[in-house]
Symmetry: C2
Subunit: 133 residues, 2 copies
DNA sequence: ATGGACCCTGTAGCGGCTACAGGGTCAAGG
DNA sequence: CCTTGACCCTGTAGCCGCTACAGGGTCCAT
């Protein structure tokens, strides 16, 4: 029905054209029909699928996680628990990342606080980076 | 003096041997003298430099930022301000990342909260990922 | 018929390593 | 002296998730 060229599909999902082709190459998005002139011709199912992918990617799910989520979404009889597991794994990874970055920020703050426009010869940042002499 | 083989240097700085060679290839660590059998032979200056690099990398500075920091550290007459600028840029980038991840975590939390062991057919996570129908 | 916007395939690059393959070197033990 | 095994060498390919070409073809309006 819809019959979208790749550019339209890309625009509709806020994706680069190259990225759409990339998703097809890695088997994330099924290859669509082709027009007489060998142009890719997408329909609504592709639009739905790509929207799903983009939304999941925006939420930070890896390509492999997206693959799993889509496989689960396709088997509609199955329990939601498997989906919950993936989402929670990802949530935990984010918690870890935030903790790491927060620790890092604290370290950088002490570093930056100690800089007071002296010459590099006695710059505390450079000192702090140098091996603990 | 020190005369370290690459393995010792790597261990002393908690770095992979391959990474040390990589740093040499990209011009981050100067190429050391070679032994009779063509082994790399490092001295204390290499140890200091690599320690500096590792510490800065651990703090999340990019390779290019490390390059800048080392260049500044070498020109000891210059003002500390340039160093301060790099550190602050990096600090700001981290602040942004933490904010992004925190927002993401919140979104994921609402998603996860809505999962209650039903079948995938009415799984709220899958629904939430699907296009806003 | 011509221009410009779109599309095609294929390959190389980004950052920052990591992991081989296929060799050479060195020191200790038998 | 010889072997074993740990170390070292170079060079290349792979990881992730795209992005950016190069060098062409197609489609539509003027």
């Amino acid at each position: 029905m819809s019959d979208l060229a790749i550019g339209k599909l890309a625009k509709a999902t806020d994706t680069n054209v190259e990225t759409v082709r990339y998703y097809e190459k890695i088997g994330l998005l099924p290859a669509p029909a082709r027009s007489a002139g060998n142009y890719r011709s997408y329909d609504e199912s592709h639009l739905r699928r790509l929207s799903f992918i983009r939304r999941a990617r925006d939420l930070g799910f890896s390509i492999d996680q997206v693959r799993e989520l889509m496989a689960l979404a396709d088997r509609r009889d199955q329990s939601c628990m498997a989906v919950d597991v993936i989402a929670n794994q990802h949530r935990n990874a984010i918690t870890r990342k935030i903790a790491d970055l927060t620790a890092l920020a604290a370290e950088l703050d002490t570093l930056i606080d100690s800089c007071s426009r002296n010459t590099v010869a006695d710059c505390r940042i450079i000192e702090a980076l140098a091996p603990q002499a």
